[in-house]
Amino acid sequence: MSDWQPRIIAFLCNWCSYAGADLAGVSRIQYPPTLRVVRLPCSGRVDPLLILRALREGYDGVLVSGCHPGDCHYLSGNYVARRKFAVIKAVVEHLGFEPGRVQFSWVSAGEGEKFANVVAKVTEDIRKLGPARRMAAAEQVK
């Protein structure tokens, strides 16, 4: 089990978090290679459908990251997203997905190191939870 690498899908906003991830790369900061990145224009574009579809597909974890409040390239996208994130987290956890499977962060374009730390933390949290098992159990047609 120790060589199992979590598969985490990451929805990153183009202007801040994606750039921050890129900065981590060019700065040669080491972080776990567990993310599959999906670039979006804004964290406000993140639809609950994307997150739940990712869980349906069996991703072990989902990370959603955007600009810090006040710094959104589209001014208010991340403010609206912030409200949605709270509800998504509440519903997903109430349904019975383990807390920590879906996580959110604000990472700016200049925060390469923070991005690496976020990935490391999220990867470690998911590693402790183990591979995604909710959808595997549900894989049958009656």
Binding site: L49, A90, L95, P99, M135, A138
Partner: protein, 327 residues
């Protein structure tokens, strides 16, 4: 002293006669015991059929948006003026639809009626052990229920919809007419008790609960179709490019269909319970929705349909919204 039904009919008659409403949407007696049918009254002569009692479970606000043509240019027809006989939750749904731009405020007349709870046919069935109910006579806080070879007394609270037991709005907070003053709602129960009970358990326990509950689902979409807040021209579940979730009864797909519907109605749902009553197989559809409602209420202080001035919770924001969960 005129009965509630008589006052209702007078009101409807007046609105139609004065041309203030083109149609009055209300409830009429159904063809089965303890069931009513939504009805559309367009002339003073048809008003006699209107009733209001514990059987009026449909959320009539649905009919403000049902079958509405969408996305067509040049809609020349003048929109109808609709008068809605609204219990508290129906009225809040109508207000929410106005706030969301689905109907113009001047085209809907909210006739508030004080609701004392509506019966959930599944709970009624359970209360009599699955036997067919042929007669039902309310008396105070009880119901005298009869069927083939039996006659029993059940407590109203045993058979009312769960949402009615914690109702805080027996009349619509926003209304044009109030047919009668509100009496005490049958509420009193803690509306989030079930949510808290599940939340106190483990994720595995919650998953097992929802898996079991949604295993019953036959994907008929009666819940979605009964809901006034579900008016999208194309529902996400019907999209096939991309197809988000399968349309079979696969438990994973089914659970996530309901989870997404909860998220799409978060902050908009008025907890009328029409979805639960519409479900032909008795799924507890509210169990997950109440969690979203709790979050919206506690985190953002928002409640659907109580004010025409309030923007929908998830379409608005405050710069100081809490974000303790964000890294």
């Amino acid at each position: 002293m005129a009965s509630l039904a008589e006052k209702l009919r007078d009101c409807a008659r007046g609105l139609l006669a004065e041309g203030k409403a083109d149609v009055v949407i209300g409830h009429a007696a159904g063809t089965l015991p303890m069931r009513s049918a939504p009805c559309f009254v367009r002339s003073a002569g048809e008003v006699e059929g209107l009733i209001f009692d514990h059987t009026c479970g449909a959320n009539l606000a649905k009919y403000l948006v049902k079958d509405k043509p969408r996305g067509k240019k040049g809609e020349a027809a003048k929109p109808e003026k609709v008068a809605l006989i609204a219990k508290g939750c129906d009225g809040r749904a109508a207000v929410q639809l106005v706030v969301e731009g689905q109907i113009a405020r001047e085209n809907v007349i909210i006739i508030g009626v004080p609701c004392r709870g509506v019966i959930d046919p599944h709970r009624l069935g359970e209360a009599v052990g699955g036997r067919e109910v042929l007669s039902c006579r309310p008396e105070g806080e009880s119901l005298f229920v009869g069927g083939d070879g039996f006659k029993e007394k059940v407590e109203l609270r045993e058979v009312l919809s769960e949402c009615c037991l914690s109702c805080r709005h027996p009349v619509p907070p926003v209304h044009d007419v109030l047919v009668e003053e509100a009496v005490e709602a049958p509420g009193g129960a803690d509306e989030f008790a079930a949510v808290e009970k599940l939340a106190a358990g483990s994720p595995d326990e919650r998953w097992a609960f929802f898996e079991r509950e949604f295993f019953k689902c036959i994907r008929c979409y009666a819940c979605r179709n009964a809901c006034p807040m579900c008016f999208c021209g194309e529902c996400f579940i019907d999209q096939n490019d991309p197809q988000w979730f399968g349309k079979s009864t696969d438990p994973g797909d089914t659970m996530l269909f309901h989870a997404v519907r909860v998220m799409h109605t978060a902050g908009r749902c008025v907890d009328c319970g029409a979805c639960v009553r519409a479900c032909p197989v008795g799924v507890d559809i509210r169990a997950l929705a109440k969690r979203a409602e709790k979050e919206v209420r506690e985190r953002f202080g928002c409640e659907a349909g109580v004010s025409l001035e309030e923007a929908p919770a998830l379409a608005a924001f405050d710069e100081d919204d809490p974000q303790e969960f964000i890294l």
